[in-house]
């Protein structure tokens, strides 16, 4: 059990605990099964590859504790990608007491491939046929009992979304984990020559492998020439099979035998997979009956429009616009109310401090510094975030994102990048750190790096409110009513299109320079559309998100407010430290259309972009005379008093799009790339782009004499 703790980072609370692995194809509702059993909130998205690490949680059934490990969604355990390797290694070396393979009832045949591969590794398998209600709607019926007989392992039908069948699943797992049933899984027998070769290798393997490892399966992998397994054996068990001379002898003997029959390592893989696929085909023919066609006609019709030549891309931009419009319009009122409320409290706090006769610096630090910054984060930043995020989640759950990837793939191909980068880019709109983690779905290391480096070229949820605030103040403030939000939407959509184009452009530049290479091949699944659970989406995103943002605001904004207040109020010579710093950056900042305070705000906003605007407000207020500020209009006058023009506004927007990723994202990049070099490149690439773009913009404006 050492391996479990050390390498797989799973800790049992007591030796009695049972470890249950949860495997399955991507997008079959595996995470929903996991969440409903454990009560955790692993986010589920309707696109393949959402789970990329081993999340784990526990549940109690019949007074026994079970640790459930959610493996990455994979089509196979052949270790063609990192996820497949992670999943395979866990089943192989984690010694789970049972492995639950979740399969999609609407697409059983293809899912059976993974079931058979799992059964080949371990006999402690429970098959969970999920999405039974969807299959029912599509007129697909599955004879679960016959499937169980065919496979020789327990089979349970579930509709995890509605919590149906999960009790039965827990019971099956319980019986298996406590050896109350002994599965007799179907034996997967290849043709004679292959079987002979397997036997030869197996005879040499059995004595040296730990007894809980399946030597037949390892033998197959050795014949297949799967080196990643050897590396894993080395890593988890600490010995190198290649150094075992007797084994190597047998292996070459077996390979020789195969070669004589015309089976080289390529055809070996072909034959074994073909065998599994054919078995899956036979079994599914035996257990499934269709009432009518097996693909949802509704999906086909919808896809005709959503990915059509004429409408596909315009529809995408329109949808983006609608999301922004709802965000902007919807955020107005709560924003105003929060501002009024929070600043009313600030006034009362001030009154209180005056009444108790506290020294002015105490009031300054606590009220103007810390409380003020927090109030700005909550009132300006929180509402748009709380509205945008659930809508984004809604589209994700619907299954729209893979269609975006499908529509945009050709542009990514032209940039020599992976089409799945469109998915990770979309994730970036929610949070760049999440987008960077999402890049694990891209198999080619070169393309994954491109996706990671360019992820922060699209604004995350924390940067949208900056853009929205600036747009509303400087470009659409002249309009009133619904027309104003319409115009803001238009400008914001334009800004986003620019960021997507920049992502493509920089991807191309990277492909032509430091990350040279050709686009690799990939397959993209377009999963069926699913009805998102509206209530759940809203409740989860608003609460999780709100709490998360508030938490981060307290952690980050409060100290930042403190630092700003101190910097603004402690003087060296006749000027405050803040002014010294701002003056230092000023000449450079002027070149790119901004001022030293703005640059300072971006730098201090490194921990979280949400605090850039609040810091800027604090800085201007600390140096100016204005003390009362509780609406966007007043904010605009504050900015104009400090020399802002529409040129400043555009420069700030451009720099918001393109500057260093936030601290969380940088740490994530460091973790994902395991490299300082690529982290630094990811830090500098957007920064340099931002500086260059702002410089070109400002210089152009100067040259044509607009200002």
């Amino acid at each position: 059990m050492d391996i479990l703790e050390k390498e797989l980072q799973i800790k049992k609370t007591s030796p009695e605990d049972k470890i249950i692995a949860l495997a399955g194809n991507p997008n079959v509702g595996k995470s929903t099964v996991f969440n409903n059993l454990t009560g955790l909130k692993q986010h589920t998205g309707n696109w393949p590859g959402k789970t990329v690490t081993n999340a784990h949680g526990n549940y109690i059934y019949k007074d026994k504790n079970y640790i459930l490990v959610d493996l990455p969604g994979t089509y196979s355990l052949m270790a063609n990608s990192i996820e497949e390797e992670v999943a395979r290694d866990f089943i192989c070396f984690g010694n789970p007491n049972a492995t639950v393979v979740v399969v999609d009832a609407t697409c059983l045949e293809r899912n059976l491939n993974l079931v058979l591969q799992t059964i080949e590794m371990t006999s402690n398998v429970v098959v969970c046929v999920n999405l039974m209600d969807e299959a029912h709607k599509k007129g697909i019926s599955i004879n679960l009992e016959r499937l169980s007989n065919c496979l020789g392992v327990p089979v349970v039908g579930t509709t995890a979304l509605k919590n149906k069948g999960l009790d039965t699943l827990m019971e099956s797992v319980h019986e298996l984990a406590y050896n109350k049933v002994v599965p007799k899984p179907i034996s997967i027998i290849y043709d004679d020559t292959i079987e002979k070769a397997i036997d030869i290798v197996k005879s040499a393997l059995s004595p040296i492998l730990p007894h809980n490892m399946n030597s037949r399966w390892v033998a197959i992998k050795l014949l297949d020439g799967e080196n990643t397994l050897l590396n894993s054996i080395n890593k988890y068990l600490g010995f190198d099979l290649y150094k075992d001379l007797k084994l190597m002898d047998k292996l070459s003997q077996a390979k020789e035998l195969l070669r004589k029959e015309g089976i080289d390592s390529l055809t070996f893989r072909d034959r074994t997979i073909t065998h599994l696929v054919t078995m899956a085909e036979d079994i599914s023919r035996d257990v499934i009956s269709f009432e009518h066609g097996n693909y949802n006609n509704f999906d086909r019709k919808l896809d005709k429009y959503i990915t059509s030549k004429k409408f596909g891309i315009p529809l995408m931009v329109l949808l983006l616009g609608i999301v922004f419009w709802i965000t902007i319009t919807g955020a107005n009122y709560p924003s105003e109310m929060l501002a009024t409320g929070l600043f009313w409290i600030q006034d009362r706090l001030t009154d209180f401090f005056i009444k108790i006769g506290a020294p002015s610096w105490v009031h300054g630090v606590l009220v103007s510094g810390i409380y003020g910054t927090l109030a700005w984060v909550v009132s300006v930043m929180l509402p748009p975030m709380a509205i945008f995020f659930p809508m984004f989640t809604f589209l994700e759950d619907l299954g729209y994102l893979p269609r975006v990837a499908f529509n945009l793939d050709n542009y990514f191909k032209k940039s020599s990048a992976c089409g799945k980068q469109a998915l990770t880019m979309c994730m970036g709109f929610g949070c760049n750190a999440a987008g960077v983690i999402g890049c694990r779905i891209i198999d080619s290391p070169r393309e994954r790096l491109i996706a990671i480096i360019t992820n922060s070229f699209v604004p995350c949820n924390g940067r949208f409110p900056i853009l929205i605030a600036v747009i509303t103040m400087f470009f659409t403030g002249y309009f009133t009513g619904p027309f104003q939000s319409f115009m803001s939407t238009l400008v914001l959509t334009g800004v986003i299109v620019l960021s997507v184009m920049m992502t493509l452009f920089i991807s191309k530049v990277l492909s032509k320079t430091i990350l040279k290479g050709m686009p690799s091949t990939f397959t993209l699944e377009l999963p069926p559309y699913r009805k998102p659970q509206l209530g759940k989406v809203i409740v989860h995103s608003i609460f999780d998100r709100t709490l998360f943002v508030l938490g981060r605001a307290v952690v980050v904004a409060a100290p930042a407010g403190l630092v700003i207040w101190i910097m603004a109020n402690i003087n060296i010579g006749n000027t405050s430290i803040l002014s010294h710093c701002a003056n230092f950056f000023d000449p450079f900042a002027k070149l790119i259309g901004m001022d030293g305070y703005i640059i300072m705000a971006f730098i201090l906003g490194f921990p979280a972009n949400e605090i850039v605007i609040p810091i800027l407000i604090m800085s201007y207020m600390a140096t100016g005379s204005m003390l009362e500020l509780d609406s966007l209009n007043q904010l605009k006058s504050l900015l104009i008093d400090n020399g802002w023009t529409w040129v400043t506004a555009i420069s700030v927007m451009l720099f918001t799009l393109f500057h260093w990723p936030c601290a969380t994202t940088c740490l994530t990049i460091r973790k994902e790339t395991q490299s300082k070099k690529w982290t630094l490149i990811s830090l500098f690439a957007p920064t340099i782009v931002g500086i260059v773009v702002c410089f070109i913009f400002v210089s152009t404006i100067k040259i044509i004499g607009l200002v």
Partner: protein
């Protein structure tokens, strides 16, 4: 066998059967994992807005393939 064509030349809306996989290496494995073995039925569903990739219906799933990948799959029209 004589009328085998690469999958990327299959007109949209038509169905075919796989006769040979010419892809090598990782992509071959991935195509095999999708169940693209000899005799597998494939239907060309639709093109993306720019014409490439194309979505195919393979063993109950909708999979998009770029033309450079689908050109390595030889098929026979049905």
């Amino acid at each position: 066998m004589n009328n085998a064509i690469p999958l990327n030349q299959l007109p949209i809306g038509e169905r075919c059967r796989v006769v040979n996989l010419e892809a090598k290496g990782v992509i071959r494995r991935r195509l095999l994992d999708l169940g693209l073995i000899y005799g597998t039925e494939v239907e060309a569903l639709k093109q993306s807005p720019s014409g490439d990739p194309v979505a195919y219906f393979i063993r109950g799933a909708v999979i998009a393939l770029r033309s450079d990948t689908s050109s390595t799959i030889l098929v026979e029209k049905l």
